[in-house]
């Protein structure tokens, strides 16, 4: 099952706004992105369908860098505008709980007004305003942290960028640490109940017989 994931890629290097680059981006499937620049910083705002946020982000990075030689992704940002569903997700609430907060029927009131009004389900709020309200009204700064998948994506980009700047000894150390990290990830993947349930089903004599 796929969902649409909204995110922004900040890119550097080659110009992604030339006709040639825009055509190449469209050809590799980046017609789900709006390309622009602000203050000299180039960005691509994506609405990408994928099975997960991380799958959406990583496929977008791969597409952009394949389409435009010399461009590199330096950062993944959340969209500045968020829906009630995203607010609910970021704050660990149900959508109904977030909706009640937004209309003042729960909590101390004073929730920021939507920054853009569409149909009821398509209202958008500015993330910084919402984050500030949760911090001041409810004392909940935790939701300011980006989602784990976004942190993982940015960590991968940071690591990739740093490898061209590290010396040989440092690279060797990074490689060792990555080896440990990969083993740790593999262990956690294997130990997930869903993964083990699938293996048990394979093992089950009743299923295999």
């Amino acid at each position: 099952m796929t969902e649409t994931h909204e995110f922004t890629l900040i890119v550097a290097g080659a110009d992604v706004q030339t006709d040639e680059a825009l055509n190449a981006l469209a050809e590799v499937g980046c017609d789900d992105a709006t390309v622009g620049s602000s203050g000299g910083v180039q960005h691509l705002d994506f609405d990408r369908e994928a099975s997960s946020y991380l799958a959406a982000v990583l496929s977008a990075i791969e597409d952009v860098e394949a389409a435009v030689p010399g461009v590199r992704t330096v950062r993944v940002l959340p969209d500045e505008y968020v829906t009630l569903a995203e607010i609910a997700q970021r704050t660990g609430r149900t959508r109904e709980s977030a909706r009640l907060l937004s209309i003042g029927e729960r909590g101390p009131g004073g929730f920021p007004p939507p920054a853009a009004r569409g149909a009821e389900r398509n209202k958008l709020w500015r993330l910084p305003e919402v984050a500030a309200w949760f911090a001041s009204a409810l004392g909940e700064p935790a939701h300011l942290a980006p989602p784990p998948a976004q942190r993982a994506a940015n960590a991968l980009l940071d690591l990739r960028a740093s490898t061209t700047e590290l010396g040989r000894a440092e690279l060797s150390r990074v490689r060792q640490e990555l080896g440990s990290l990969i083993r740790r990830i593999r262990l956690i993947e294997m130990a997930s109940p869903a993964s083990l349930d699938a293996k048990d089903a394979r093992w089950s004599y009743a299923d295999s017989a």
């Binding site: 740790r184 262990l187 130990a191 093992w203 004599y205």
Partner: protein, 129 residues
């Protein structure tokens, strides 16, 4: 649940962590005996032979075939536990890895013993062969 239960909880004390490490070590030794028995490099230990003689969910299967099938299905997981325990003291497990490995070891043995993971420790002999 995408990750092992209680994965993100911290151990409440060094003693609790040490107990988890000891349990993993013990369960890992039993799993290593399964690996060596399945590969034919060592005889099947008594406790495992007894398990292999039991019908599994009402079905009887030749013990050798039973063991080979188990080893085949869970070879990656068994190897992961073996690798984890082979790391030695210089490769100290972080808390998340320890919890994941212990949960994995419990589940692997629970499948073999056909019992809930919580009963694995009681079902096994005090020490491996």
């Amino acid at each position: 649940m995408p990750t092992p239960p209680e994965l993100n909880q911290q151990f409440s004390s060094p003693a609790e962590r040490a107990a988890a490490q000891a349990e993993l070590q013990r369960l890992g030794e039993f799993l290593r005996e399964i690996i060596t028995a399945a590969s034919g490099t060592a005889p099947v230990p008594g406790w495992l032979a007894a398990e292999l003689r039991k019908p599994l969910r009402g079905h009887r299967e030749p013990p050798g075939q039973w063991l080979a099938r188990y080893h085949n299905v869970f070879s990656d997981e068994l190897q992961a536990i073996d690798d984890t325990l082979s790391g030695g003291s210089e490769n100290r497990l972080d808390d998340d890895s320890l919890r994941a490995a212990r949960y994995l070891a419990r589940r692997l043995l629970a499948t073999l013993l056909d019992c809930p993971p919580s009963e694995v420790s009681q079902r096994l002999p005090a020490t491996p062969s």
